[in-house]
């Protein structure tokens, strides 16, 4: 893996499969009585959260702690950011404290990219959601969940991609960083994506994305674009909406909400997913969210394993001292190969 994880597009097919495979091993360690591994002892991971988050921050914190890294949590509320401190000064402060990795969530699209490439710090940067741009670890945990169920039948799917699987992503695509990252990663893994949304909630330029677009959820669920393997519902992000994108919540719910009769239209093995937080009764009804094909709670559990894998791949092998060792030494004696 590269030094940073800023976009799902940073991963090629082999790289994405590697993250999922490592996540599988990490998930196995989380079944044990002692869940902690010593792997990242002495490393410091800073969670830099400029936006509210439950799942992602706790998930990154758990992942870093399970790998024995030290975790510093920073949230914009209650910090000097409310006194007007800039991202740059905050980054310089973190650098001075010796952060090996910064996990950043920011309301501005591109903030993680700026942090990674402005030369303010030397650590790895992980994008934990920036504005309406990307949320790559969410896409990775969704892909992990899909692969586990669709390819591994609930067990191991080591080395597999998602070739030929068909996933519908439904709802507020316009404001969704989860949708962007998922579209990129699912295409990398060979899956076909159908975006289902009202025209007002699709971004300009969506025709250039590697997806099929539909305005009609019922037609898609009926197999209008082929049998679906999973439906991913998106949260309607009212807090980012500065205009009227649909006439009323009830109309949206009627046309694009997933309820029990709609989820009954899906093929038997198809999954119902939601990245959370859910607006129950709005984009997804309670019985669809809690039904047997829902993986919503499992997605959260898988998030820890996937984030452990990302932190492991970014931090474990990286070192300032590696360059001065002759390459040949790495192959010396014994049971492990170069």
């Amino acid at each position: 893996m590269r030094r940073h994880l800023l976009s799902a597009a940073d991963l090629d097919t082999a790289g994405a499969i590697e993250v999922l495979d490592v996540a599988e091993q990490m998930a196995a360690t989380q079944q044990r009585e002692i869940k902690k591994l010593p792997t990242l002892r002495g490393r410091t991971v800073v969670n830099l959260f400029y936006e509210d988050s439950t799942r992602t921050r706790i998930s990154f914190e758990a992942a870093a702690k399970r790998l024995s890294a030290d975790v510093i949590n920073f949230s914009a509320k209650g910090s000097s950011v409310s006194k007007g401190e800039s991202l740059k000064d905050t980054a310089l402060t973190l650098q001075a404290m010796g952060a090996d990795a910064v996990v950043i969530r920011h309301p501005a699209s591109g903030a993680p990219h700026r942090l990674a490439h402005a030369g303010w710090s030397t650590g790895s940067v992980v994008n934990a959601g920036d504005g309406t741009h990307e949320h790559p670890t969410q896409a990775l945990l969704d892909a992990y969940t899909l692969r586990r169920h669709l390819v591994g039948a609930g067990g191991s799917a080591r080395g597999a991609d998602l070739q030929g699987r068909r996933i519908a992503i439904v709802g507020d695509v316009l404001h969704s960083r989860v949708a962007r990252s998922n579209v990129l990663l699912l295409a990398t893994l060979g899956a076909q994506v159908v975006l289902v949304a009202p025209p007002t909630l699709l971004p300009v330029g969506v025709e250039a994305w590697p997806v099929t677009v539909s305005y009609d959820l019922d037609a898609t669920l009926h197999g209008g674009h082929g049998d679906l393997d999973a439906v991913m519902m998106l949260r309607v992000q009212a807090e980012r909406m500065n205009a009227a994108f649909f006439p009323s919540t009830r109309e949206y719910s009627r046309r694009y909400g997933l309820d029990a009769p709609r989820s009954a239209l899906l093929p038997e093995r198809a999954l119902v997913m939601h990245p959370g937080p859910m607006n129950r009764g709005f984009e997804i009804s309670a019985d669809a969210a809690d039904g047997p094909r829902s993986t919503i709670v499992e997605q959260v559990a898988n998030g820890v394993a996937v984030r452990m894998a990302v932190l492991y791949l970014l931090l474990a092998g990286q070192s300032g001292g590696v360059a001065d060792e002759p390459a040949g030494r790495a192959t010396t004696e014994g049971n492990l190969l170069p």
Partner: protein, 197 residues
């Protein structure tokens, strides 16, 4: 990690197929003698080649005693002390036998014992998985140059080497043939540099 070892420059063959077989048979008898039978015995192979060796040892033990001996595999990647010196590698699966390792006598199986760092990592990994009654170590080759206070209980062959040499173990399951070869490798830059064993 699982690909066959490249055919390096011609080295000195120190063990051939039947030498490896005989060494394993002897180790199997030694384990049974010391353990007074196969009771509460668990074999844990360290990937890649230790797993194949553990399987063969298990088959020998079962042959001699007539009862199956539980086997597992113990990946130590995430417990290594040289992670920062190496390019990152993907961890392999760890598998415990069904009965677990609590209160069992665990025999760790590896191909080459060198610095002792792999075994240090394996002991840490093992203590996260349970509390064995005792831990023993069986290796096919002990080549010396220990950097930690570790010793093997069962050794296939003691092989005096210089640190600039390399010991390459090939096993049928992984490499298509059984063989232990010594070649003169690149000069060592320090006692611990890249100290994989």
């Amino acid at each position: 990690m699982d690909q066959a070892r490249p055919q390096g420059p011609a080295g000195r063959v120190v063990m051939e197929g039947h030498d490896v077989q005989r060494a394993l048979t002897r180790i199997a008898h030694e384990i049974l003698e010391r353990n007074k039978g196969a009771d509460r015995l668990v074999l844990m192979g360290i990937p890649t080649r230790g797993v194949a060796l553990a399987e063969r040892l298990g088959a020998r033990l079962a042959e001699i005693e007539g009862v199956p001996v539980p086997q597992g595999r113990l990946d130590i990647t995430m417990y290594r002390d040289d992670l920062r010196r190496q390019p990152t590698r993907a961890p392999a699966p760890t598998k415990l036998p069904d009965g677990g390792i609590d209160d069992q006598v665990v025999v760790l199986v590896d191909d080459v014992l060198y610095s002792g760092r792999t075994i240090r990592a394996a002991l840490d990994a093992l203590s996260d998985l349970g509390r064995p009654r005792a831990v023993r170590l069986a290796v096919l080759v002990d080549r010396g140059h220990r950097e930690l206070p570790v010793r093997a209980d069962y050794v296939g062959k003691n092989l005096p080497t210089s640190q600039s040499e390399r010991v390459l173990v090939a096993l049928t399951e992984v490499d298509g043939r059984d063989e232990v070869v010594i070649t003169s490798g690149p000069a060592a830059s320090g006692p611990t540099a890249g100290g994989r064993e």
